[in-house]
Each structure stands twice: as structure tokens, then as C-alpha cells.
Symmetry: C2
Subunit: 361 residues, 2 copies
């Protein structure tokens, strides 16, 4: 089997960090017996500004035919009025997540060797969790509207939607994942004392699915308390399951405690295999340092490793799993070289970091 990969380099540093990752893939694949093919796509803020074209239904159908999608970063200059209202985020990232039914947003939060956490006295031992964020419901549905917009009587609404179907498949995925981890511990994060409708749907689904997993220990934290614990006692978390909006928040915080945007990887998965997953570093397009060989590709390389492991599992390709594991291990052998440095100003060029990972393979 050969993996058919769609590559969306995107904006700013996106193409560079994706390019560096593909160098690593090229070096790692043959030894694992992995064959693959890549096809580039131009979807990005720059492409939209040039052509007026974001990503239409036909584009989605084209991408659906691939085994996986690797994305660098999309997004233009922060205050560009032509990009206001989330036209790129909604038009590319959220459109793909929803249309390809990538209902799991998987975000490992792990402090790698040599990477500095902003938390005093915390080490790799204390920060090792994985967050399963529901990715197709909640406040991200786009349900809402205005009444009397632009007047003193304006009212706007934005609706969080939770379905038993959507919540249960996500919760079940999280239990399955928790079961494979050493600690076998799963925490649900919500705000059930205030969100008594959506929170109740989550609470009941969690409790009922838990009965099928007697080996997995469970806990529940309100989202506000969770944010506090993430900085005071991150060691209390192993696997975490969380709705979309709160998941967005706690995974950014998780990225921060694990060394920042520069190291955080993520995958948007459709575990059914009916559509490809999309894998992306958590960082943005950083237009200020684009094109200067300054961007650190480590988060993208790690997202590539995640892509290979997860796509390999879903498609049953041992070669892809093996290759993902080797690249992941090489990343962990490389991070000690960043000891005492900032990830975003490490002094290593983009290509140099790729070479370091390739040497560590």
C-alpha cells in the first residue's frame, strides 16, 4: 500500500515547516518500507486574497480522496480587514474538520526532554497527557444570529449544540485511548454546574460509556478548575475528553505548559476511516519570520509522525505506523539540543532542524 498525501503548505512559515517535514519523511520512509506520494494544494489566505477562492465543495471532494492531509498553517496578517470574521479559519480549517467529519481533535500534551516548561518545578514526569477534543459540534457549529444588529437593542446568539451521537462517539474514542495508556485514567472536562443542558448530555454519555470500561478510572473537572490544575498539578491528567470550545482553550494552555506553540502537534481524525485526517502544528503562520529559514519545524515534524501513526492504524499500514514511531522517537532524541534555548529563536535554521531529526532517525 502506498500513502497518498495531500499537502497544504498554507501561509507564512507553513510551506517551510511542511517542506522540512517532508525531507524527514523522505529520509525515514524507505527504511520502513513505506511508499507514499504527495500532492500540493494552494489553499491559504494568500491564495484567497489573490483569487477570491477559499475552499469549495469540489476541493473538499478532491481532498477526500487522499489518505491524509498535512497542513502547515493558514492565516494572513493579524489585522487584515479582508480576512475578518474568520474567513480563512472557517473557510479552510473548520470546513475540512466538519465536511470530512474529523470528529476527534487529538492533542498530545507532553513535555519533551530538553524543552522548557513555564511551570516551576515541573518535569517530563508531570506533563504527559493526551487531550481528546470533540471537533464537529458545540459552539463551532455556526448556529446563531442577530436581532436588531447595529442598534442599541442588538441581541446576538451563538448556540452550543451537543448530540448524543456526537458526544458518545467522542467519549468512546477517549475511553478506547485511555485503555491503551499506562495510567488508564480519563477526565471529562465541562461546566455541568452552569451548562445544565449540554453538560448533562456529556455527563450522561460519559457515565454510561464508562460502565463498559471498568478498567479505566474516571474523573470530572469543571473547565475553570481544569485550567488551574493544568498549571498547579498537571500530573493529575492522563487522558482528557472535552467538548470543542473548552478543548480549544485547554489544549492551547496544554501547549503552553509543554513548551509552547513551537512544539505542539495535533491531528483531526475521522477514526471510521471514511475520510482522511488532517494533521497540523498548533502554531500559526507567523508571517513576520516567513521565508527566512528561521521557523522551527519540530511541531510539524511531530504532527507528521502523528499522521503516520494514526493513518497507519486506521488504514492498517504497519509501515506507516513504524515510520511514524521512528520519526516520533527521532523528535524526542532531537529536542535535548534545544535545552536552554527558545524554540522560536533557537538559532538553528529550519533545514538544520530537519537534518538533526534525520540524523537521529
Amino acid at each position: 500500500m502506498s500513502l497518498n498525501l495531500a499537502i497544504l503548505g498554507g501561509d507564512g512559515i507553513g510551506p517551510e515547516v511542511v517542506g522540512a517535514s517532508l525531507d524527514v519523511l523522505k529520509a525515514a520512509a524507505p527504511g520502513c518500507g513505506l511508499e507514499y506520494k504527495t500532492t500540493d494544494f494552494p489553499f491559504s489566505a494568500a491564495h484567497f486574497l489573490e483569487t477570491g477562492h477559499v475552499l469549495d465543495d469540489a476541493d473538499v471532494e478532491t481532498l477526500r480522496g487522499y489518505d491524509a492531509i498535512l497542513l502547515g498553517a493558514v492565516g494572513g496578517l493579524p489585522n487584515d480587514p479582508r480576512l475578518a470574521g474568520g474567513v480563512i479559519e472557517k473557510g479552510i480549517l473548520l470546513k475540512l474538520r466538519f465536511e470530512l467529519d474529523q470528529y476527534i481533535n487529538l492533542r498530545p500534551v507532553q513535555l519533551y526532554p530538553g524543552i522548557e516548561t513555564p511551570l516551576a518545578g515541573k518535569t517530563s514526569e508531570h506533563i504527559d497527557m493526551v487531550v481528546v477534543r470533540e471537533n464537529t459540534e458545540d459552539l463551532y457549529c455556526g448556529v446563531g444570529g442577530f436581532v436588531r444588529k447595529g442598534t442599541a437593542q442588538e441581541v446576538s446568539s451563538q448556540t452550543m449544540v451537543a448530540t448524543r451521537f456526537g458526544v458518545e462517539r467522542c467519549v468512546r474514542y477517549a475511553f478506547e485511548l485511555a485503555k491503551t495508556r499506562e495510567r488508564k485514567h480519563l477526565t471529562l472536562v465541562h461546566k455541568t454546574n452552569v451548562l445544565t443542558f449540554a453538560g448533562d448530555t456529556w455527563h450522561r454519555a460519559f457515565k454510561e460509556v464508562a460502565e463498559e470500561y471498568p478498567d479505566v478510572e474516571t474523573a470530572y473537572h469543571h473547565v475553570d478548575a481544569c485550567c488551574m490544575y493544568l498549571v498547579t498539578q498537571p500530573e493529575c491528567y492522563d487522558t482528557v475528553v472535552v467538548p470543542n470550545m473548552f478543548g480549544d482553550i485547554i489544549t492551547d494552555l496544554g501547549a503552553a505548559i509543554a513548551g509552547g506553540m513551537g512544539i505542539a502537534s495535533s491531528g483531526n481524525l475521522n477514526p471510521s476511516g471514511a475520510a482522511p485526517g488532517m494533521f497540523e502544528p498548533v502554531h500559526g503562520s507567523a508571517p513576520d519570520i516567513a521565508g527566512q529559514n528561521l521557523a522551527n519545524p519540530i511541531a510539524t515534524i511531530d504532527s507528521l509522525a502523528l499522521m503516520l501513526r494514526e493513518t497507519g492504524r486506521i488504514k492498517g499500514s504497519d509501515a506507516a505506523i513504524k515510520c511514524g514511531e521512528q520519526i516520533g522517537a527521532a523528535v524526542k532524541k532531537t529536542t535535548p539540543k534545544f535545552e536552554g534555548k527558545r524554540l522560536d529563536r533557537s538559532g538553528f535554521g529550519t533545514d538544520e532542524v530537519a537534518r538533526m531529526v534525520i540524523e537521529a532517525l
Copy 2:
């Protein structure tokens, strides 16, 4: 003028920490020429379990007649099924916030001398902000419901509501506050790239009110990025304005970086003066250490100081303002005694901490 104070000790450690605060008030008031009277109210989880009575409309009307409300903590044992669904939180805290139209939740996030932050290399200089959380709208309205509850087709919804009226008065309060602070810097925190309805109402109100405050520098951060910055560069914040739900989250995180629940104070204000404010420590009722003279009352004493300052301002009582400032200063003189200790296991008794603050007066 004499201040007429309603005292809701509440559950667990609530009555103790409130008692300690009132000892401080008793010691401080005469020197400032402040007269006051206190009346105790029993509203709490324990009271509800005993009597079936939470807090009804008549109780609210009674409380409306006071100048301010000091609350210890309400809440029973974490997993008590009789308290599920937020019956106490919604029935007491949220009911008072909404019925008394306490539309500002004011949360100082300041690292006091001697208090340890979990953030490496950050000091009092880096952590000194105040968060203005909107307190009467958003996901806290209770708008939502179920379709086909309990079936595989269950759908639940929970609606975030933003009104121009509610957002503008909150934003205006935040600009006024920012104007009085040294840095004169105000950051709006939202998630406008995804919440394109409610986020737009906030964005426009913020932009339009900003024009009236040319001296105040403004910034905008997405809530996910804000959580990251709170741990990596808290010094970027001075005054922050934020809707209710995101405010709940970032203020708990703020409390964590400023030393934790043990030190965080808060006020729920109705700046119009039409109804009393409610002031409470951010921590919970900690039933496990209740009644043992172990609870640290410092957050409640600081909430009392906030109560006196804010109520004094709204009611025009210089004596109350002075008394609040003196108690606040005494708290800052006391916190160095906690150096190297955990606030929640400081070894000082509840009464001992009150004495330390009184000596510092």
C-alpha cells in the same frame, strides 16, 4: 452613613473565613470612622439539604435592601447527588448575580509579596492585572434545552446571548477602570474567529466605545491565545474585559498564576448602585478542612477590602474607601509571612491570620 452588610457565611470553611474577616473589619473600622452593622443569613447547601429552601424571590428582595453582601463559600460535598445540576451555584450565586443585576465580576489578578506563583521566573512585576468579567449574559443565561432527551437521537443546546446593552455597559466600565490605572491598557478577550455572532457584538461595542477613550491603549486576544499568554507572558495584561464564560475560565487561571485559590478575591458589582454588590473569595467551601481553624481567610479578607472600596465608591463613603484601602494594605503587609509556605497549609490558624492582618493595620 453606616454600612448595612448582609453576611452569607455559607458552607464548609465559609463561616470561619467570613468570621475572621469580620474580626479584621471590627479592628479597622473605628480608626476610619466607619460605622457598620451586619446581619447573618443562612443560605447554603447545608441549609438547602436541611430545609429544601435555596433562596427565593423574597430572600432576594431582603438582600436588595443591604449596602453590600459578603459571602464565604457555598457548596456541599463534590458528588452529592442531591446537589447535582448546579442547584446551589445556580440557586444562590447565579441567582444573586442576575437578580441584583451585578453585571460586573471584578477579579484582581495580582501576585502579592511573599506569595509563590507556579510560573518560573515571574514576579509581582509581571503579574498585576484586573479582569472585568461580564456577569449577567452569555452562556450563563440558562437558555437552552433538549430534544429527544435520553434517546440515541438526543440533542441539547445551550445558547450564548450577547446584547449591545449588556456588552456596552461592561465594556464602558472596563474602559473607565483602565483609564484610572497606570498602564491604561485594555485587552478584549473573545473568540471572534469562531463566534462570529456574539463575538461581532463584542468587537463592535469595544471598537466604538474605544473611540471615547483615546488615552486607553487597546488589544484583542482570542481566548485560547490568552490562556497561553497568561502563563508565558502575563505581563502583557493590565486590564482585561471578557464575556462571562471565558471570564470564568481566565480568572481561575489568573488566580492560579497569582498564587492560587487561597488568595483570589472577587466582587460582583452593580455599578449603578441600584442593588448591592456581592463579594466572595474565589475558593470553594473545602468541606474536608471545615471547622478545624485550618482555612486561610486571606482571600476573604481581601474580598472584604474590595467590598469596602467598591461599595464606598458607589455609595460615596470615604470612610468605607479608606477602611478598604487600609485592610488591603494590611493584607499585602501580611502575605510575606507566607513566603515558602503553601497558602492552604501555612501552619497558621484561621484566627492567627486574622490577627496578623490586624497587627499590620
